[in-house]
């Protein structure tokens, strides 16, 4: 039984791992490519402001700029930690 399972479940080939990793990396790089130059600074400063009130991690904040033909929407998502009672801290 064990042997059969072992034979069936072929080892995941390293090239397919490489491909999956690259797809994520490249999608991320391309997302950054299209954003204005000030975005990293803006994200950093927003994080600092939020941290004056709530302790959040670097990756708890996610900002996005979507552009349509006639307007752009800056979308800001912050995941707040919960305190012991389960209320947002």
């Amino acid at each position: 039984m064990k042997l059969l399972e072992f034979l069936k479940r072929e080892r995941k080939k390293s090239a397919s791992v490489a491909k999956e990793r690259l797809q994520i990396i490249v999608a991320h790089q391309r997302g950054e490519r299209d954003q204005p130059d000030y975005m990293p600074m803006l994200q950093q400063e927003l994080l600092e402001v939020i941290r004056r009130y709530v302790q959040v991690d670097q990756d708890a904040i996610n900002i996005n700029l979507d552009s349509d033909n006639d307007c752009s929407i800056l979308e800001l998502n912050v995941t707040l930690p919960r305190d012991e009672q389960g209320r947002p801290g």
Partner: protein, 272 residues
């Protein structure tokens, strides 16, 4: 007006200089007046691969700084008609390479030649950006390997934003993917990205596939661009690449694993 082609990659050591030498030579062999320029200031290599290192007198920086005329710096290739080499400086620092200076050189060459091939240094800094800045087309040299593919994607970002064509909102630089050091046997065993994987991730047109080949080292040992070795797989693959650059429709070769038969294993024939 010459067509300016930059050979670039981001990552170092992937085969830019080998490719620039082979492609420039291939273009000249097909009757096009071609000049190949080394932009790798401080680490010049192109002269070695082209086999003209002992004939370098002046270089690109000398020309830019007015210490020599363009015609004094250009080296005529010994083997191939229609082919010239403009070497990089071995001693000067990279900052001597200015955009205005490069533009002037390219403008002058542009009147004389059909193709100007620019061999970019590795990285994404000053030298690499200058090598691509005036380009009409870019050959993005990529090995089937994670860091090379990621760097190629970075380069594609720069080509789309940091070139003269991008800044002037002209038609964009035409991007070509050149996969080099491809090893079909490792692809078959699942340890190397397939050419479809690389093409899918970078999403640009494939202009050529160069197999990992002993002929490349042999060629650089002798200072003869590998495209002269038409018995070799790499030489043929570069010749195919040149044909595609010239707009011909050539089927892909050397991407399938050929198990060596008993006879070829005994007599060492087959893939060279």
């Amino acid at each position: 007006m010459a067509k300016i082609i930059v050979v670039t990659s981001g990552k170092g050591g992937v085969g830019k200089t080998t490719s620039a030498a082979a492609i420039a030579t291939g273009l000249a062999l097909r009757g096009n007046k071609t000049v190949v320029i080394d932009f790798d200031v401080g680490l010049r290599n192109l002269d070695l691969v082209m086999g003209c290192e002992r004939r370098v007198v002046y270089d690109l920086i000398n020309v830019i700084q007015g210490e020599a005329g363009l015609n004094q710096a250009l080296i005529r290739d010994k083997r191939t008609e229609n082919l010239h080499i403009l070497p990089a400086s071995q001693t000067r620092d990279k900052e001597a390479l200015t955009a205005e200076g490069v533009e002037k050189v390219l403008d002058t060459l542009s009147r004389e030649y059909d193709f100007i091939v620019c061999d970019s240094p590795a990285g994404i800094e000053h030298g690499a950006q200058l090598a691509m800045y005036f380009a009409d087309e870019a050959i993005v040299v990529t090995n089937p390997e994670v860091s090379s593919v990621r760097d190629s994607d970075r380069i594609l970002g720069l080509l789309a934003s940091k070139t003269r064509r991008a800044e002037r909102s002209e038609p964009p630089v035409r991007e070509h993917l050149l996969i080099t050091r491809y090893d079909p046997s490792r692809v078959t065993s699942g340890d190397m990205l397939t050419l479809e994987d690389v093409r899918e991730i970078l999403a640009i047109n494939l202009v050529g596939l160069i197999p990992e080949s002993e002929a490349v080292l042999r060629a650089s040992n002798q200072g003869v661009p590998v495209v002269h070795d038409m018995d070799s797989d790499a030489g043929q693959a570069y010749a195919d690449t040149v044909s595609r650059l010239l707009g011909e429709d050539v089927p892909l070769r050397f991407h399938e694993y050929q198990k060596k038969g008993l006879l070829s294993r005994m007599f060492g024939g087959g893939r060279r």
